[in-house]
Structure formats: structure tokens, C-alpha cells
């Protein structure tokens, strides 16, 4: 990443930075394509808030892809972002019962099939995560906070042991395992997916 400190960021720099979780890369990426997506949404009967949501969801799609590690960009990053954002906004308009007609035509070198696959995968994961959030809500304390601290906030086992007042890390681990098992039961109570059958 050292060469990326310079003024010019290439697409690859940005993507690897994103995968590594670099705040700078994310901030730069965010600034780079925000005007384009914002314009797309605003000029197609969307609000600034809509533009923000669509752009962030687009970046999430991008993030999921780079963090999976198999991201092979066949076109410009800009084209990919535009294609994803355009489809997301189109779907949003359809959901709102508006005429799904966009003023903006797709870009010429858009990898339509790839983007469609990515979005389908993204949608599947979105459902999974929504279910996960509901399950976590139903879990109750202290399991909810414990899992949240470990998996979302990435606290170490030691920190968790101290925070929750367990006698030792092993105890905390057992506790975490129990919570995980419970969460899993809740999760699969009403979630059906091909991956888990």
C-alpha cells in the first residue's frame, strides 16, 4: 500500500485497500464515485437520501466481492459501480411502484451477466443477514452482547472475559459456544436456504 500514498489511486489500489479495510482507501473510493451515483439517482426522481443509500449498498456489493477474494474486474471500476447502482435503483423504483424507466442508459462495456450474478448473490446474502439480525434480537442478553462484541466489534476473548466477569477465557469460550448454538437454533427455526439444507 505504500505506493498508494501518492495522489493517484488506481482501481486496483482502491480495491486492495478496501479488502484490507483501509479507511483512507474507502474514503477515497467513496469520494470518487459518489457524484456519479448521486446524479443517477437524483435525475431519476430520487432524493439525496436515496442516493446515499443506493451508493452505500453499491459499495457493500463491491466490498463483499473483494473480501471474498475472487474479484476479477473485467471492466473499469467506474463502470461496475455504475452498473450495480443503476440496477439497485431500478429495483428500488419498481418496489415503490413507480414506472421503472431510467433516463440513464447502461454503459457500453457493462458486464451485464456478471453484475446480475453479483446482485443475485448480494440479495441472497442480504436475506441471510436480515435473518441474522432478527435472530440476534430474539437471543436476549447477555448472549446478544457477547456475540456482538466478539463477531462485530472483534473484541478479543480476553477482553470479553473481563467485560462479562468470567473467571477465565475458557469459561467465556464455552459461554460463547452455548450462545452460538442457541442463535443457530433460532436462526434455522424459520430460515430456509439451499446452502444449509
Amino acid at each position: 500500500m505504500s505506493e498508494a500514498i501518492g495522489l493517484v489511486w488506481t482501481d486496483d489500489d482502491l480495491l486492495s485497500g478496501l479488502a484490507e479495510g483501509s479507511d483512507k482507501a474507502l474514503s477515497h473510493l467513496y469520494r470518487q464515485h459518489y457524484p456519479m451515483v448521486s446524479h443517477l439517482v437524483l435525475s431519476n426522481s430520487g432524493s439525496a437520501e436515496d442516493a446515499k443509500d443506493i451508493y452505500q449498498e453499491t459499495l457493500i456489493v463491491l466490498y463483499e466481492k473483494v473480501s471474498a477474494g475472487d474479484f476479477d474486474l473485467h471492466c473499469q471500476l467506474k463502470t461496475f459501480v455504475y452498473a450495480v447502482a443503476r440496477r439497485l435503483w431500478l429495483r428500488q423504483l419498481t418496489l415503490r411502484g413507480r414506472s421503472p424507466m431510467l433516463r440513464s442508459a447502461p454503459m457500453d462495456d457493462e458486464p451485464a451477466d456478471d453484475v446480475a450474478t453479483d446482485l443475485a448473490e448480494h440479495q441472497r446474502r442480504e436475506n441471510q443477514f436480515a435473518q441474522m439480525a432478527t435472530s440476534l434480537d430474539q437471543l436476549g442478553e447477555p448472549c446478544r452482547t457477547l456475540l456482538d462484541d466478539f463477531y462485530v466489534r472483534r473484541l478479543s476473548m480476553q477482553a470479553i472475559t473481563e467485560k462479562f466477569g468470567y473467571t477465565n477465557a475458557d469459561n467465556a469460550k464455552t459461554q460463547k459456544y452455548k450462545c452460538l448454538t442457541r442463535l443457530k437454533r433460532i436462526f434455522f427455526k424459520d430460515y430456509q436456504d439451499d446452502d444449509y439444507q
Binding site: 479507511d23 467513496y30 457524484p35 448521486s38 435525475s43 441471510q128 472483534r154 448454538t181 444449509y196
Partner: protein
């Protein structure tokens, strides 16, 4: 619950954790960038054009409908206009007395008191009429007498009588006058012609007498159709030359029976004159309220006495029964 399952679920939870963290990160990035005013806010471009693009199909349909409507309206208007023109083609054969004719009237030294009527206030409309009965009932066209203040009739000899309007039938353009109450009028011998209510055949030789000018004028022709203007079954079409002023004149067949009353002609076609049928006249007479007749019964002559006479004799006999109708309006 095997370990594999658990690992897979745990990785999902890890991914979920990453997602939540990333979302938070994005929100933070957005907020900080916004705080530093580093996010350009794109203005929605050309909202009018956008609107136009979205609604283009709708507008196209609307425009198509508008164009269709416009043309349909134009076509309808044209057809209405052309049908209206045909009405204009139908010209009633009454005579509007021109200024010159009025002066001529004045030049004629008419010392008789009755002549003064025309000197002081010349008639504005003139037509023809003929006696139904010798007692003084006349028939003429409604379009001649309508709006009249006073109606005078003038015989071929130049005698003027004041006429009373007994009845009008605007639908068939008929008007019944009475001159029997004018003291100057003396009952004539019974009318020489009969009234034939039966429908006449095509090709029937017909003739008429009327006043297209101050003198009585004879005209001859034949029955060319059993219906009138635009299929009007109450009238005949006659090939006979008539002029303004002939309106209200009798139409007689070979045997001297009245078969119709000259009403109008079609300007656009040659020799298309229209005459109201006699049976329509008889129906109109039956419709007169008895009070209007003032106890002077209207008895029609069903059979004429000119059937075997030559045409010149027929004309000679009947010309005293055909009058010029002059109408005064203000």
C-alpha cells in the same frame, strides 16, 4: 449438530459481523466527508426533459388521439358544411320586390284609392296564390306570408283585396288565406279546377301559372320525381322553369286538376322545382280549427270541369283564380 455445520454458521455470523462493521464505517465516511463538504451534491438536471422522457409514451398516445380528433372534427365540419350548402341550394321562390319595381309601381298612375296602399307602403315580398273555393279561400306558401303585418292579394285584372291569414303549416310550407271578408270581393263562379289527392305518375305533363313579375306567367313541364328535396315524400320534383314569385302557384296536370303547389327550386341543378303534394294540402285543410273558418265552410272542388278543354282554354278559365300575393312587413 455436527462441527461442520457449526463452522459454516459461525462463518456466516462472522460475515454478518463484517457487514455491520463495514456499514458503520460507510456511515462514518459519509458523515465525515459531508462535514468537510467534500461530497458534491449533483443537481437534478433538466427536470422538464426528465418528465418528458418518462411520459413520452403517454404523450405520444395523447398526441395521436388529439390528431385523430382534430381530423375527425375537420371532416365532420366539412360534411356538415356541405350538407348545409345543400340547404342553400334550396331556394324558395318568393319575390323580393326591389326598389326599381317599387318606383315602377309608383309610375303607374293608379288613381283608385286601393292603389294608394302600394304607393304609400310598397309590398316587400311577393308570391303567387290561388283560390281553393269560389267563396274566397286561397292557398299560398308559408314562407311568403310569415312575419307579415298585412297581406294583400291582387288579381290578374289588378283588383286588390285584403287577405286574412286563416292557417299556416310551416312544416309543409303552406298558408291558407281568406279574402271573402273583404267587401270589394264578389264571389266568383265555382273554381274550374279540381283537387286530385291521388299520387300522380312520373312523366305527367304539368303546367303552372304564377306571378314572377306583375303579369301572370304560364309555365310548362313534367313530373320528374315523386319525392322532393332530399327525398321529401310530401313533395314532387317537377321539371319546370320557375322564377322568384312563382311560389304558391298551382301545379296542374293535363286534365286541369291541381296536383301540387309550387314551393321552391334547387339552385344547383337544372330544372329541379319542388311542389307540395295536393294530399298534403288537403290534410292541412282538415287540420284547420273550425273557429278559424268563422262559419264559412271550406268546401273543395273534387272534380274539375276543364278535363277535356285544350290548354289555352284551361288557362283562360283559371287565370282569374290565380292571384299575386303581396306582403307588407315592418
Amino acid at each position: 449438530m455436527n462441527a461442520d455445520d457449526m463452522t459454516s454458521f459461525e462463518s456466516t455470523l462472522r460475515a454478518y459481523g463484517r457487514r455491520v462493521a463495514f456499514k458503520e464505517k460507510l456511515t462514518n465516511v459519509h458523515q465525515s466527508l459531508e462535514a468537510d463538504a467534500l461530497l458534491p451534491v449533483a443537481e437534478p438536471q433538466q427536470p422538464v426533459r426528465l418528465w418528458w422522457n418518462i411520459h413520452r409514451p403517454t404523450l405520444a398516445i395523447a398526441a395521436a388521439v388529439a390528431i385523430m380528433t382534430t381530423f375527425a372534427t375537420i371532416i365532420l365540419y366539412r360534411s356538415y358544411q356541405s350538407s348545409h350548402k345543400q340547404d342553400v341550394q334550396y331556394s324558395m321562390m318568393m319575390r323580393n320586390l326591389a326598389v326599381i319595381q317599387q318606383t315602377q309601381n309608383r309610375l303607374m298612375s293608379n288613381i283608385g284609392g286601393r292603389g294608394k296602399v302600394f304607393q304609400q307602403n310598397p309590398g316587400q315580398v311577393a308570391g303567387s296564390g290561388f283560390l281553393l273555393t269560389s267563396s274566397g279561400y286561397l292557398v299560398t306558401n308559408n314562407h311568403i306570408v310569415q312575419g307579415a303585418d298585412s297581406v294583400y292579394v291582387q288579381s290578374q285584372q289588378g283588383e286588390v283585396y285584403k287577405a286574412r291569414l286563416v292557417h299556416t303549416d310551416p312544416t309543409h310550407d303552406l298558408a291558407i288565406l281568406q279574402i271573402g271578408q273583404d267587401t270589394a270581393f264578389h264571389a266568383l263562379p265555382p273554381v274550374p279546377y279540381g283537387f286530385d289527392a291521388r299520387s300522380s305518375d312520373l312523366g305527367e305533363r304539368v303546367f303552372t301559372l304564377g306571378y314572377p313579375r306583375e303579369e301572370i306567367v304560364y309555365g310548362e313541364g313534367y313530373l320528374s320525381s315523386s319525392t322532393g328535396f332530399r327525398g321529401d315524400s310530401a313533395a314532387y320534383q317537377v321539371a319546370i322553369s320557375v322564377n322568384p314569385g312563382n311560389s304558391g302557384g298551382p301545379l296542374l296536370d293535363e286534365r286541369g286538376n291541381v296536383i301540387g303547389i309550387i314551393t321552391a327550386k334547387q339552385i344547383t341543378s337544372e330544372g329541379a322545382t319542388f311542389a307540395v303534394k295536393t294530399n298534403v294540402l288537403l290534410n292541412a285543410l282538415n287540420a284547420i280549427p273550425p273557429d278559424s273558418l268563422k262559419a264559412d265552410p271550406l268546401l273543395m272542388n273534387r272534380r274539375g270541369r276543364m278535363a277535356r278543354l285544350p290548354r289555352k282554354q284551361q288557362i283562360k278559365q283559371m287565370q282569374a283564380y290565380v292571384y299575386q300575393v303581396k306582403v307588407f312587413k315592418h
